[in-house]
Subunit: 267 residues, 2 copies
């Protein structure tokens, strides 16, 4: 879309924080003839601010994946107070998408490229029978699960590694570009039958969080030997890691733009 | 339905434990032209066991209310092993209703009249903006909430009281029949913005749990003076208690048929 010089001068960059339930969407990114989160937000901006804007997210989330606080930005000529834009957009958004905050930021801020750290949650429940109360936000694990076994391998993932073994083959990422840093990885029991994995890193490959979750679940279920995790990472071969855990268990929890990450000191 | 003597002799009473998401249902109890939990289960029994059976629940849950473990019973002539009936029925139930267990019980067992203790959870979140990730299972509280204030009044509810002030006026219960015993009442923060109330008692009046939840929320939000709770209970007047909190926050957690309740000893 052409913008006059005058418009360009008055363009403001708005950062938004978005919460959504991904169940009914084909993911974040706009696709033809599909309901997407990005598409719904761009539509709300068009209806509320009468502008066609491209909304840039911190990253794409897959179909069925949720977000507690996805971050995105867009540029607008609207004169509405930045802090009020979230309320205006929410009027035009469906019930399963909500803008939690909006603020004006420098045009050097980029929701995708300025992100320093991302945190994901992966929820699952353990039960022989599928449990309706957990169907939307939890993966179903129908086997016995030993949390101590899963916890015993967490340290292997921490730090900088080539995570090619934890990247879906559909991805276009070069094997050499598969180096990522995981800052923290935890897994704990949240209630009688429910568990949560939480992982923070400087970025994640395609399906990487779901494959780590699937691998930890298989370790806890006795299907992957805990001693093999180190060699699975080193193999850089997707075939050796666990299954990709289902999308419904995954939630983008936080995107951090300020984090100064402490480097591990030698002991 | 008429049953021959032979059939009567071979009737077995089956106890089932049911989990459901109440969002898309007009409540537990069968009603004409409405989707109900009881209706779906009776339909599944008809399709799976080729019998018309009445399913008796421990109590009705309202439209939109969920259950982690509702209990019910029905009588059947089916020869299928009692423990397998849950799997057979689940084949015919929608995704948001699931039978967790089935077992044969004495015909003296009655899911409604044998219940000794019920436990409900009430979930809510505190945020100025509605949060999609909590829309299905949490009530939305758009005001500041002080958990310590809410916790300061819990003891007033414990024990045997006439809870007429906490019974919706639509109920047919006589004022004199409004005496119930609350065994425990707790409220705590479950995550950054989420809270849970849990209450156990020998039985609950119509909307009683939701009115207690609404009252505790109003105490925490500074709308009801904590010192007034005692007189609100004593008033037996519905007008003095807080609002009925929304159905979506309520979950029937457990029905206990064995509990020997310790009576409070005089100090």
């Amino acid at each position: 879309m052409k913008k006059s010089l005058k418009n360009l001068r008055s363009l403001r960059r708005i950062k938004i924080v978005v919460q959504y339930v991904g169940t009914n969407y084909a993911g974040w990114q706009i696709q033809p003839n599909q309901k997407t989160i990005q598409g719904e937000i761009e539509n709300a901006i068009f209806l509320a601010l009468h502008e066609k804007c491209e909304v840039v997210g911190s990253g794409r989330t897959d179909a069925g994946v949720h977000a507690l606080a996805q971050v995105a930005h867009f540029d607008t000529t609207s004169k509405i107070k930045a802090e009020k834009i979230c309320y205006v957009l929410n009027e035009y958004l469906p019930r399963d998408i909500s803008i939690l905050e909006s603020e004006e930021v420098s045009d050097k801020f980029n929701a995708r490229f300025s992100a320093k750290k991302k945190t994901y949650q992966y929820n699952f429940y353990v039960s022989k029978i599928p449990l309706p109360c957990f169907a939307e936000n939890y993966a179903h694990v129908p086997f016995d699960f030993d949390i101590l076994k899963a916890q015993s391998v967490l340290d292997e993932f921490i730090g900088e590694h080539n995570f090619a073994a934890f990247c879906s083959s559909g991805s276009k990422v070069d094997l050499k570009d598969a180096v990522r840093t995981i800052y923290s990885l935890k897994i704990w029991q949240t209630d009688k039958q429910t568990y949560r994995m939480e992982v923070s890193g400087n970025g994640f490959l395609y399906n990487m969080v779901r494959i780590i979750a699937g691998t930890l679940i298989e370790v806890g279920c006795g299907k992957i030997n805990p001693k093999k995790i180190k060699s699975i990472i080193k193999s850089k071969n997707r075939k050796h890691a666990g299954k990709t855990a289902p999308a419904c268990g995954l939630t983008l929890k936080e995107v951090d733009y300020t984090a100064r990450i402490r480097k591990k000191k030698a002991a």
